[in-house]
């Protein structure tokens, strides 16, 4: 496992979920080193722009799609030489890559980390550019808030958001005598379906991520879906931990019951974002929760058969439940010079933004993706307005190649759910802290859930008080 995989799991998730659009690598030929390719032709006067690409192991076709788009961009901007750099948001190496100058000039970071990066002065100020492009008042204000500092300066382009969803394997549903068009709508039904799948097929009915911070991430997501919150934002820059709440407790009890009462969890309790995708794509897993846009990665990077795929919304219960969401922003390295920065903004606008608001760009993007067999039409949440999003879906309707009818349980119901952002205070550290709590419930049948939560709450508060 790379450091990346092992760490900021959420980061990895987002980076990968970002794939839908982030599709970018160098010259599309992974045989040559990602940094070589175009740089050779870089004549004097052209600006070399190193842009983030896929995480390690991405499919050949993804590089083809990127190569097409890279060529289109370079044709429109002959003074810019785009060089794709294999990239994955890996928290741990970020500071070092930044210091060592090996970071791409353009890359994406998850919402959860953007605030901290911004406060550390590790992102380039792009206020003027966002204004000049006229985007300042077009972004969803809640999302834009995440990349704005106290003085109103903007540090990045929100480009994609997702909501948590419940992914399920239609074949396993059928094998277990369940209706794949009528997926579970409550957590009790999830449990029953998991048991049915495990009993009839011997596969894992329901699994959940548990390592590399993803355990904490998913625990938080499910807490929210049961009406709980793991953290209270005091509004004055301080946060109060509320890990010991009914929603979190119910989530852990659910996990305990699936694992130990029903024996439906499967043998693997050490899955993270990548490995749970692998299990699911291989048909070894009935249901799991992850970002709504993970289909792209499942099919492209993990070789899933699209016919098996099903997606529905997170079951909601309790008081004030919501759906945890997230997303990422395209940012510019703080170390680049002015001309590179201008080129970087051009690229971000062209590659990430235009397709969200411009019909021609949207079509061209969808075409490039579709031509190379990449997923088009994976459900995401709009970073601009919902109207614009719906409109853009019309533009690209002809290129859609994902089984959208298998995702209708999600797409028809997601708008009724309340989006909830990830906890802001020490997000990753607290996710890391919650991993062992999830692991404890999954590896110890008699784990004392109340004691675990009390301890985690204390530890989290200690972190927040630092």
């Amino acid at each position: 496992m790379s450091i990346g995989r092992r760490t900021a799991a959420v980061g990895a998730t987002l980076a990968a979920s970002a794939m839908l659009v982030t599709a970018c690598s160098s010259d599309g030929d992974p045989d040559t080193t990602p940094t070589s390719g175009g740089s050779a032709e870089a004549a004097s006067g052209t600006i070399e722009l190193r842009v983030a690409t896929f995480p390690p192991g991405a499919d050949e076709a993804a590089y083809e799609a990127f190569a097409t788009q890279e060529a289109q961009f370079e044709e429109a901007n002959p003074d810019i030489d785009v060089i794709g750099v294999e990239y994955e948001w890996t928290g741990p190496t970020f500071a070092v890559q930044l210091a060592g100058g090996s970071l791409p000039d353009v890359f994406t970071v998850p919402f959860t980390d953007s605030k901290t990066l911004l406060e550390n002065g590790q992102l380039m100020d792009v206020t003027a550019e966002v204004d000049a492009l006229g985007y300042s008042d077009r972004f969803n204000p809640i999302i834009l808030d995440g990349v704005t500092d106290a003085d109103g300066n903007i540090f990045g382009f929100p480009r994609q958001a997702y909501a948590m969803g419940l992914h399920y394997n239609r074949d396993l549903f059928e094998a277990a005598g369940l209706d794949p068009d009528n997926p579970p709508a409550t957590w009790d039904e999830v449990r029953e379906a998991a048991k049915a799948i495990a009993d009839t097929t011997g596969k894992a009915g329901y699994s959940q991520m548990a390592i590399n911070n993803t355990g904490g991430w998913q625990l938080t997501a499910q807490t929210v879906s049961r009406g709980g919150r793991t953290q209270v934002d005091n509004g004055d820059g301080t946060y109060t931990s509320s890990i010991s709440n009914a929603g979190t407790k119910a989530t852990l009890e659910f996990l305990h019951d699936v694992k130990w009462e029903d024996n439906a969890f499967g043998a693997k309790v050490d899955l993270d974002w990548g490995t749970i995708n692998q299990e699911f794509a291989a048909g070894n897993l009935g249901m799991f929760t992850s970002g709504s846009d993970v289909y792209t990665a499942l099919v492209r990077d993990f070789g899933m058969d699209p016919d098996q795929y099903g997606l529905t919304v997170m079951p909601l219960e309790g008081d004030d439940p919501g759906t945890l969401g997230g997303g990422d922003i395209a940012v510019v390295s703080p170390t680049v010079d002015e001309s590179t920065k201008a080129a970087a903004v051009k690229w971000i606008d062209w590659y990430y933004m235009q397709k969200l608001m411009n019909e021609d760009a949207a079509k061209a993007d969808a075409q490039a993706l579709a031509d190379s067999g990449q997923a088009v039409g994976t459900p995401v949440l709009p970073v601009l307005s919902r109207e614009l999003y719906d409109e853009s879906q019309q533009w690209i309707a002809e290129f859609v190649n994902v089984p959208q009818e298998q995702m209708t349980p999600f797409t028809e119901n997601i708008w009724d759910q309340t989006p909830v952002g990830e906890p802001k205070g020490k997000t990753q550290e607290i996710y890391a802290l919650l991993d062992p709590v999830v692991q404890a419930v999954l590896t110890d049948e008699s784990a004392d859930i109340d004691a675990l939560l009390t301890q985690a709450d204390q530890d989290a508060q200690a972190l927040l008080d630092q």
Binding site: T7, G11, P92, N120, A267, V269
Partner: protein
């Protein structure tokens, strides 16, 4: 003493750059320089820097500031430290129980067979040749906890139910040790075998003259002859296990529930796992503490080997 010192003193007095060059000082320096440079930049320098950094707070971007013993206090107050130390000791103990007697036994048996030493040695050494990362990744597949997992299938043949292996707090560490033992036993076997084959035959002949049985020969001749190498291997194994990293890092990432989090993994996490910049101060503080402990061990090792090799 006095006779040797006198000319040296005069030489020093008469030394000029000219005579220094003439006496080969420059050439000697030319030969010494690569070593001096490399060691300064990549060994001595970082060692000093490590000690300095353990008293500093730094994140690569802002200038470092001295914080006294804060890093040490923070490390000692980390509830994970106790877990990591205990886990490391547990690993070391398990590795001793499993990994220490097996190679000795195998080497003794192999030294006794009249034919096939070569092929046996090659077989024993084969796992050592497998790159450690490949070995761990392969064993991770073996440790598949489903009933159809590789090792669980083998257990099934002898009527034992499927085990959770890495998926269990209780079994994760032993699983790591089994793989580590598999991967390293061959090297130890070869070393013991060499030591065994170096036992002077006269000693056995003499024991036989006294009518010693096979067991008595093993106990009174073989083992005493192996004592030195056994002790050295013991220290080396402790040194290596105290720095165990690859197995927990690749097998479990320290889980489940930190049951395989070792000291080195903790250092790694301090330095490289925090998403937005490492806590290099805490990492170096813990490194320095571990290093003092290990340096003590290696010093003992060195004293003993020095004594043996000169005696």
């Amino acid at each position: 003493m006095t006779t040797t010192q006198a000319p040296a003193a005069t030489a020093r007095r008469r030394r000029t750059p000219r005579t220094w060059v003439k006496n080969g000082g420059l050439t000697a320096l030319a030969f010494a320089l690569p070593m001096i440079l490399i060691f300064t930049v990549f060994s001595w320098g970082p060692i000093v820097r490590s000690v300095v950094m353990s008293f500093q707070k730094t994140n690569l971007l802002q200038p470092a500031e001295f914080v006294g013993f804060d890093n040490f206090i923070a490390v000692l107050n980390d509830p994970l430290l106790g877990t990591a130390v205990l886990n490391t000791l547990y690993f070391a103990a398990l590795a001793l129980v499993m990994g220490f007697p097996i190679p000795i036994l195998m080497a003794v048996l192999m030294s006794e067979v009249r034919r096939g030493k070569g092929i046996y040695s090659a077989l024993a050494y084969l796992p050592v040749v497998v790159p450690p990362v490949v070995a761990v990744l392969l064993w991770k597949v073996f440790y598949d906890a489903s009933p159809n997992g590789v090792l669980n299938t083998v257990l099934g043949w002898v009527g034992i139910g499927p085990q959770p292996w890495l998926q269990s707090q209780a079994q994760a560490m032993p699983s790591l040790v089994i793989e580590a033992t598999w991967a390293a036993a061959g090297g130890s076997i070869i070393i013991y075998l060499a030591a065994l084959l170096a036992v002077p035959p006269e000693l056995y002949d003499a024991a036989e003259v006294d009518g010693a049985s096979i067991w008595r020969k093993a106990w009174h001749v073989t083992l005493p002859q192996l004592r030195g190498v056994i002790f050295v291997m013991l220290i080396l194994q402790i040194l290596a296990t105290a720095q165990i990293f690859l197995e927990p890092f690749l097998f479990t990432g320290g889980g489940p529930v930190n049951s395989t989090t070792t000291v080195l993994l903790l250092i790694y996490r301090y330095a490289f796992q925090n998403s937005l910049g490492g806590n290099y101060g805490m990492a170096t503080a813990l490194s320095v503490m571990l290093a003092i402990f290990l340096a003590l061990l290696s010093w003992i090792y060195f004293r003993l080997t020095a004594r043996w090799s000169t005696s």
